[in-house]
């Protein structure tokens, strides 16, 4: 086993018909533009609303401080049905971002990954 294993988070939305369509169409039909630092992320408010009530907003808006563009990109990837590959050290910030933004499914996936990783490492 590698010293610093990558963590893979499968997305539960990968088989969702409209999520798959939205991912294919993006940025077409996007009605939301989320600013994180200096980066802008187009998105579909309905897809976002499907994972978190607070994310279901149209128009342009900015994320609270504390979430990096790369972390948000991973969150969006997950929300749009793609599994996410994380380097060591990325799991923490992603779980925190999921909690802050109310994306319960991602929070769960991160928690499960942390637990599985702890099991792999074993006691002592």
């Amino acid at each position: 086993m590698p010293l610093f294993p990558r963590t893979r988070l499968p997305s539960p939305y990968g088989s969702d018909r409209l999520v798959r369509l939205a991912a294919r169409l993006r940025p077409a039909l996007c009605d939301t533009l989320i600013t994180v630092g200096s980066q802008e992320f187009p998105a579909h408010s309905l897809v976002l609303a499907g994972v978190s009530q607070q994310l279901g907003r149209r128009g342009r808006w900015a994320l609270v401080k504390g979430i990096s563009p790369s972390t948000f990109a991973q969150l969006l990837y997950f929300v749009y049905g793609e599994s996410v590959e994380l380097q060591p050290g990325e799991l923490g910030p992603l779980e925190e971002a999921a909690r802050t933004l109310g994306v319960q499914s991602l929070e769960e996936a991160c928690r499960r990954a942390r637990r599985d990783r702890a099991r792999e490492l074993g006691p002592g």
Copy 2:
């Protein structure tokens, strides 16, 4: 059997997660306004795109002549996951509207209903 039976068209989208959410939120997060005659119908472009490529457009636009507001309302009902109850005489216009607007699933449902009705009436 009643002389003039109603026809019920079940919608295949009734169990679709994002369609159900969109139906619940409507008109919130709607990015489309479709004018039919003097009536306006708010809708989610992503939900529309999921049933017909030509319907996946944002903003305000008007339907071609030949489709009544009530027929379009039935089409939208079906698209948003609700089964539709049709009076005699309504099936034809709805199937025609489905064909014009490229909603294949509705066209199929109408064809099936016509076929089933013909079977019920039997030969001669």
